[in-house]
């Protein structure tokens, strides 16, 4: 893909000082989206290093790399950071960049609110990092349960900073959700009806549906902790502790889906693009996404099975019901690649790996949705394995599928496919070597959040294997960064539609102009959810020369 155009490198852009400061106050959704994605990837590196340090601590029994208090601070930072500052912002940031392009809108709704959301997210990130840097740093895990997080058990400014950081970033994410939803529902180009929107945009819309009620619940929970810390005894009884847990998990479970729906959207787009056909079962997939998001608001109590304070049968029923829309989505993914002419590009490889890996995360989720099983697996490494297969083996692979798919569009340059495939090979190896042993450790009885373990428990070998895998993941991340760096240096130009994709963003230049479409790159007629495919088929029938690359023909009509 890359060598064909290497002889014609793009001129290197000369950014003036004013140019860089313009980025910081720009109301262009593409710039804001790239800022969010760039910040998210930087923080992914930082919190990934935190995870590597924890894995180093657990490699052998009885190690002393981290003290128990430091270890508690590290897993607080890793959990809070990855969820609130990395995966959620990346999920919504991709939407900020892509959604207006995919629906033919020149701008995002309320662009300055979107910019404010970005800066509140940055403020939250700095505050959260400070929360472990100060003496008496936050060590309350990512949920900050009371009474652990109150002023008696977590004195000092660390937990205050943690509360402020979570509150700031949650406000940013709420604002991002609102502007994205408003854009999708009110800014679509003429002809872009809801059932002609790309599946990625649909995945962002259902994410917004969940984000709008979920983030205020987290804000309420943080305000409760803040009040309790400022005025001890305000929420002193166990009723309030349970209320806090309900508020927290009313955010905490939907956010899991907020953290993977957009990446499912990336995978669906990549599969359709590189199978060379329309997404299979479009309407069914849309209904499944909607059904999934509705049910996702009704499952938060399964995090409290072991508390004895929730209606276990209801939450078990709704959690297991999630398998139905998930099955429809899987059927659509597999249906899209069956009979397709597959091209094994880097984004396609990430999308294909997502399918079995996310299945492991989903199926173990159904296991722990059963209270009888959950009582035994609760707080064990089995749970850690389950959610890492969901959020890393699933979401991260969807994220990289999306990044490699849209990198040429966003930057106007091609990435190196060779380095991309090396990144993929290392990541898929590292992921499974790291997280598969967690299930075994869980069955052996290793509990979560322990700083070390006795030598005679039999946890040593699996922990060693897992730590080696974490090192491979770290190496793969360096390959990814090196790929971005060399691509930026070599600047191999990308055409408007390098992959021969079908959705609207590929009709404009790479990178797109300020208002997305122009007289040279107008919005094409929209008569289905694959407008560029329609255009090419019409051109073929009329005997006109094709402009947008090779047209896959099988299964398209």
């Amino acid at each position: 893909m890359r060598t064909a155009t290497r002889r014609n490198p793009l001129p290197r852009p000369v950014a003036s000082r004013a140019g860089w400061t313009e980025w910081l106050v720009s109301t262009d959704h593409k710039r804001i989206g790239l800022l969010i994605i760039g910040t998210g990837i930087t923080l992914l590196g930082i919190f990934g290093l935190v995870a590597l340090t924890m894995r180093a601590q657990l490699t052998r029994p009885g190690q002393h790399i981290l003290s128990p208090q430091m270890y508690n601070q590290f897993f607080t930072m890793h959990g809070t950071g990855m969820i609130a500052l990395v995966i959620t912002p990346l999920a919504l940031g991709l939407g900020v960049y892509l959604v207006p392009l995919q629906i033919g809108a020149p701008v995002i709704a309320a662009p300055r609110v979107t910019l404010l959301a970005y800066w509140l997210y940055v403020a939250g990130a700095v505050t959260l990092i400070l929360s472990v840097a100060v003496p008496g740093g936050a060590a309350v895990s990512w949920w900050g349960y009371t009474p652990l997080s109150n002023a008696t058990y977590s004195p000092g400014p660390g937990t205050n900073l943690w509360v402020a950081g979570v509150l700031l970033s949650a406000t940013g994410m709420l604002l991002l959700s609102a502007t994205l939803g408003w854009t999708i529902l009110t800014k679509r180009a003429p002809g872009m009806t809801l059932l002609r929107m790309p599946l990625f945009t649909w995945s962002e819309l259902v994410t917004v549906f969940m984000g709008l009620p979920a983030f205020p619940a987290l804000q309420a929970a943080m305000v409760m902790i803040a009040l309790e810390r400022a005025m001890p005894g305000t929420f002193g009884s166990n009723t309030w502790n349970i209320l806090y847990e309900n508020f927290f998990w009313f955010y905490g479970h939907p956010v899991v889906y907020i953290m993977f729906f957009p990446f499912v959207g990336c995978v669906l787009e990549a599969l359709a693009t590189f199978a060379g056909r329309r997404p299979f079962g479009y309407e069914g997939t849309v209904l499944a996404l909607l059904g999934f998001s509705v049910l996702s608001m009704a499952v938060w109590g399964h995090h409290l099975f072991a508390s004895g304070q929730v209606a276990n049968d209801y939450y078990s029923m709704t959690s297991i019901l999630l398998a139905v829309p998930a099955g429809v989505e899987y059927f659509a993914m597999l249906g899209t690649i069956v009979y397709g002419r597959l091209r094994y590009t880097t984004p396609m490889l990430f999308a294909l790996a997502f399918i079995p890996q996310f299945l492991i995360g989903g199926l173990t989720g159904i296991m722990v949705a059963t209270p009888a099983f959950d009582y035994n697996a609760n707080d064990s490494y089995f749970i850690v394995g389950h959610f890492h297969y969901t959020l890393f083996a699933g979401s991260a692979f969807g994220l990289f599928a999306g990044i490699y798919l849209w990198f040429p569009k966003a930057t106007g340059i091609m990435h190196s496919e060779k380095l991309g495939k090396l990144h993929f090979a290392l990541l898929v190896t590292g992921t499974n070597v790291t997280f598969l042993p967690f299930f075994g450790l869980g069955f052996l009885g290793m509990t979560r959040r322990i700083v070390t373990y006795p030598a005679g428990e039999g946890f040593g070998t699996l922990n060693l294997v897992s730590s080696i895998g974490a090192g491979i993941i770290g190496l793969s991340f360096m390959i990814f960064i090196y790929n971005l760096y060399t691509s930026a240096r070599q600047r191999v130009p990308a055409p408007p539609n390098p992959w021969g994709a079908f959705t609207l963003e590929w009709a404009t230049s790479s990178p797109p102009p300020r208002y997305n479409f122009s007289a040279r790159y107008p919005v094409p007629p929209i008569r289905s959810y694959a407008p560029l495919l329609d255009l090419r088929l019409r051109q073929q029938r009329a005997g006109e020369p094709e402009r947008a690359g090779a047209l896959p023909t099988r299964g398209n009509r």
Partner: protein, 121 residues
């Protein structure tokens, strides 16, 4: 379902209504009382959004969405900085609070200037 016959507010409202239904089912399972208000308030919030979308689209009468060139976000950055320092002042040290005070009028001034410069492309 025909592509042109799916009203955006309807999708939003159906989503909120389905949540209401699940919340009502939860009553039958004798949940902890604190769970109903959280759930129903969330569903109501979504329905409120549906109503807002419906009103906006109704006023537009099928016309393409209007838009204006947004002014730069200097005031937004200054406001976010004020919020950040305010958060630090609350959570870490009250001494930071005086730094917040000049930022708020500065953000307001930049905002007024930006609104005056707003143009349509």
């Amino acid at each position: 379902v025909k592509p042109g016959r799916t009203p955006p507010a309807g999708v939003f409202a159906a989503w909120g209504a389905a949540n209401m239904l699940l919340a009502i089912v939860l009553v039958g399972f004798r949940a902890t009382p604190v769970q109903y208000p959280i759930y129903l308030l969330a569903a109501a919030l979504v329905l409120l959004n549906a109503a807002a979308v419906w009103m906006v689209l109704r006023r537009r009468h099928g016309r393409p969405p209007p838009w204006r060139e947004p002014p730069p976000g200097d005031s937004v950055l200054i406001f976010a900085l004020a919020v950040f320092l305010g958060g630090l002042a609350w959570s870490y040290s009250w001494y930071l609070l005086p730094a917040v005070v000049p930022l708020l009028p500065l953000a307001a001034l930049r905002e007024r200037k930006a609104r005056r410069q707003r143009t349509s492309p």
